[in-house]
Subunit: 339 residues, 4 copies
């Protein structure tokens, strides 16, 4: 059996999680190299995972020919360039979402991927690897919902995390790109079609700080897809109860809901507040299993030489739609998409 040697670039909150999974939860892979411009993160990774190589320079990572693949968990604005460089250097590439921060650079990344058909490229839309999301996908594909009528997707961060969100505003590409891109990808995956019209609204209901950047603390969009199905998405930053990622697909034969209660675990508490379930408070808590399945799939695809389900085109299209939703939100005009 072969063991895949992976180098990871970016050791922030999510990068560290990916690193720890590669180091001990993924079969047939090992964490051979880590790269980050912050020395303290490198030191922490060194201590926890004991990788063979550490780098503060991404180009130096790419010079390591022992590696088979790289995982990019760097800031979004760096993704597209690093994808090109990594493929050029001959590595299989896993890249965190979003693919890029605008459609133009995404098209360049897509060209790079298309130019290297022998290399595996996978984009980190991890929800597609969550057990419940996959279960629903199978039911849709088996025809159990009938014809799809409406997709509804909520992604709302816990308000308890607002401080770090506010400090990130200047670098943010906006709620549609940062948050809703997941729901856009899910809508396309479940509805098997592309949006034809978009109307997007929102506002600053609790945090006027977003206004300066022409963004809102809660935004929503209604889209009609080419196959006539509808999608409503909400992205926000002010959930009082926890990390609310809820998805609903209404069909003519059944409705399916995923995590309509964002339960932390299987415990129900009966106390003076009533009967309650505590909630997940972060993406790590909710999607830990999905991140593992996703990375395992990346490794398996390389070893079995097959393409992952999430392709570069999914990154291109979801970025395109997020970009249009952002434009719509800013202009308050309906957008009809031409293809």
């Amino acid at each position: 059996m072969t063991t895949l040697k992976i180098g990871i670039a970016g050791l922030g909150r999510l990068g560290f999680i990916h690193a720890s999974h590669i180091a001990s939860k993924i079969s047939d892979a090992e964490l051979t190299a880590v790269c980050d411009i912050h020395e303290d993160r490198l030191a922490k990774a060194k201590q926890h995972f004991d990788p063979e190589y550490t780098y503060t320079s991404f180009p130096r990572l790419l010079e390591n020919k022992e590696l088979d693949a790289v995982a990019l968990v760097t800031p979004s604005a760096l993704h597209c360039g690093q994808i090109e460089q990594s493929l050029e250097a001959g590595f299989h590439v896993f890249c965190e979402k979003p693919l890029g921060v605008n459609l133009e650079e995404c098209m360049m990344a897509k060209k790079a991927v298309d130019d290297h058909p022998d290399l595996i490229f996978m984009l980190g839309f991890m929800r597609r690897y969550d057990e419940s999301y996959r279960y629903v996908k199978r039911k849709i594909d088996d025809g159990e919902i009938g014809k799809p009528v409406l997709f509804r997707g909520y992604t709302v961060d816990p308000v308890s995390a607002i401080d770090s969100v506010l400090s990130y505003i200047p670098q943010s590409a906006g709620q549609f790109m940062d948050m809703a891109v997941h729901d856009i990808d899910l809508a396309r995956w479940y509805l098997k079609s592309e949006p034809a019209t978009i109307y997007a609204i929102g506002g600053c209901y609790a945090y006027p700080q977003f206004k300066e950047y022409d963004d809102g603390d809660n935004v929503s969009a209604l889209m009609q897809f080419e196959n006539e199905s509808m999608a409503f998405i909400l992205a926000g930053r002010t959930a009082p109860h926890g990390y609310q990622v809820e998805t609903e697909i209404i069909g003519t034969r059944s409705m399916l809901r995923i995590a309509s209660v964002p339960q932390k675990n299987l415990v129900e508490i009966l106390d003076e507040s009533g009967v309650r379930k505590e909630c997940s408070n972060s993406f790590e808590e909710r999607f830990d299993g999905a991140f593992i399945h996703e990375m395992q799939e990346f490794v398996d695809c390389i070893l079995e030489n097959r393409k992952p389900e999430v392709r570069v085109d999914d990154g291109v299209e979801s970025t395109r739609i997020a970009e249009l939703a952002t434009k719509c939100f800013k202009s308050n005009e309906l957008i009809k998409i031409k293809r």
Copy 2:
């Protein structure tokens, strides 16, 4: 159409509710007379319902020959004697649960009922008239649960009501008689059998005051019925979240649960405590509809000259079992019931 003239005796918390129902929610009946030894309660009833007659003496109420029926909502220890007197005076009788506070007086009440086959007697086990309990009964009778395996019944008062409960201890016949008698009746109704063995335990977990009267603040009993099915019941006074009346019937083909969450209404709240439902806080809130259906059934039985489902024997048997459970709790010995 005839309108039934009803006199009510006892205008405490529940008596007042019954009076208000008869006065305005029950078809073909009117609240003609009210009786209570407390003048203030009479005055309040007079003001709200404007009945034709008011009495401070129960015997005087029985002398009113305009009346068709009496409703007894007096202290439990008075029930059996008043049933006899009311029937003797020629009235149909509705009596609140429990039938009596010991088996001996219940047998006398039973004799009185049996001696007046032309008069309607009904006992107030109101849960049997709750929409959800009736729905489950129909499913059981239709064979949907298969063979019954286990009945589980919880009746736990909200701890917020503990002060009035503590002040009532000296008059109380104990938790099994005061609280669990409802679950005993339900178990007999759903399982269609009678207990063969009883083991009962409990304790004072929060309120040592009960110990003085050889009672507990939470007690439970496990029974095996003659048809082999099992019943587990819990009665208590310390629910932190509200009025917890929860019932489960496990069968070989399905399990049914009634009010496993004692929800106050259809509202779900997502806030910093998680996702929660607020709870009912009293029997009035939970069983308001059942009290109305029950009294309507009493009236309809009289007008249509048919016997109610809840008969005097249900009162006798549930009292017998509650008495044995109490004895078992006090002695810590298994009781095998001989018939």
Copy 3:
């Protein structure tokens, strides 16, 4: 105490329910007259409620000067004219929703109401009288949700009722007017603002029959209100599981959901299909209590000479919005509302 004499016009499905409530569930009111062009309905009402007067002609009903008030449960297209005539004849008026089928006639009805300030007029948006909806309204008014961010309202009829819906298409004013008008009213009530923009879409996902009338079997709309809050509403005819009326209000401090599971009762079933709750199948089943509270409020408002919460303006505005949503759905163009 006074007893209000009410005449009802229209004895269809809902008219019969209102009649039965007035006849036996509403304090201080009696069902004095009934009116319907169908003799068989009159006969049925006669048998059940024994009203003093029966009419096949609405003008004849209005000639009965014993009456205090009329309840209009006639076809929607007749509402506005009958409101005018009834007020003109000196009666208090209860009118089922919608106020009218277009804005123009609603404005005339409004004028009639405004011209008779001494007469009580009430519109039958019964959800406002449902216990759970009122509970949420109080929480909103008490500031418990913080600033409102998004209102979401679903109204989807059970597909089991599709045949009668299909036969009604030719008379229908469309899904937005027939179904969504309830959610439009609720959104205005909860958000305390009026819509500034509307985008509406939909389609025929299961029943192409709607297409002929330029309608859909499921339609939705996204609105931004003048106070910046958002509203998303869905109206449909193809719910596989029952009568789905679900409402959510997201605020900056808490989220509230009403009937996110349209449970039939408090019974939970564990069988080979999993753990499930059966669902309500009709508005009668879900809103029986609300219809009673609503009619009681109408009677109390007359007796206490005060105005009901639901006024003619609520009918005007909800009709205006439903009309715009319909126009938007048909034109596929964003509508910006000028006031």
Copy 4:
């Protein structure tokens, strides 16, 4: 870093799961040897995990001095003897529950464990390593439930698995030993006390085949613990809906429930059967994560030279109680436990 070499004995359904975890999900451990008397199981394990050594003889496994620890997933009747032999051979031991099939042999196993204080012994009560069970334990230890009043534990296998259960009856030690021993352990863990009285009942409600072995297809027991708290447990084989492991702990300050709906995943389905969640169908599905955490804890305890929470005494006591419950069930007499 050290890597622990583990040999596993017993490659049945659960043994294979443990083997796969050790092979790829447990940090700092490797599956060095596998042992089973069935050649086909060995072949399958060889193919999947490629262990260095395979054995059909347990004594031969124990001769392999490369190993650090053994995991016993053999038939219950072999546990105690193999524990002794393994410790004698100098290995750390993980043993699946139950410790043994009677108290006598458990006492011998306990002696062996006590005689080897330097070797780690851990018993596989995996529920103690489930995330939700641990969460509840922390809440109890933090005093959040107040004083414990009642523990309720249900363990009911899906009826879909009845054929394999029936074929296993001749080797079974009865429902209390096979199934309820988990709940007995949990009750002791959560209540922090030992039972003082036991009353146990049950019957053959669907499968008379159990009667021949003096067992039932559903059995229950009510216990009072020395600290006065109560415990009610139910063990059965006929759950129509799935693998029902449900636990409740009622305290004077709050009630906690674990998995009161044995949900398969986070998907809710709204279809003609109502609103439902599908259920877990096996212990593997429900407790996969717990088995991993448990084995990781065994490995960590060895590497860090500390004792696991689940000790041999827990096996002894739970076996003692299961044995008494079985005796009580067979004799229909209350048992008062003397210590």
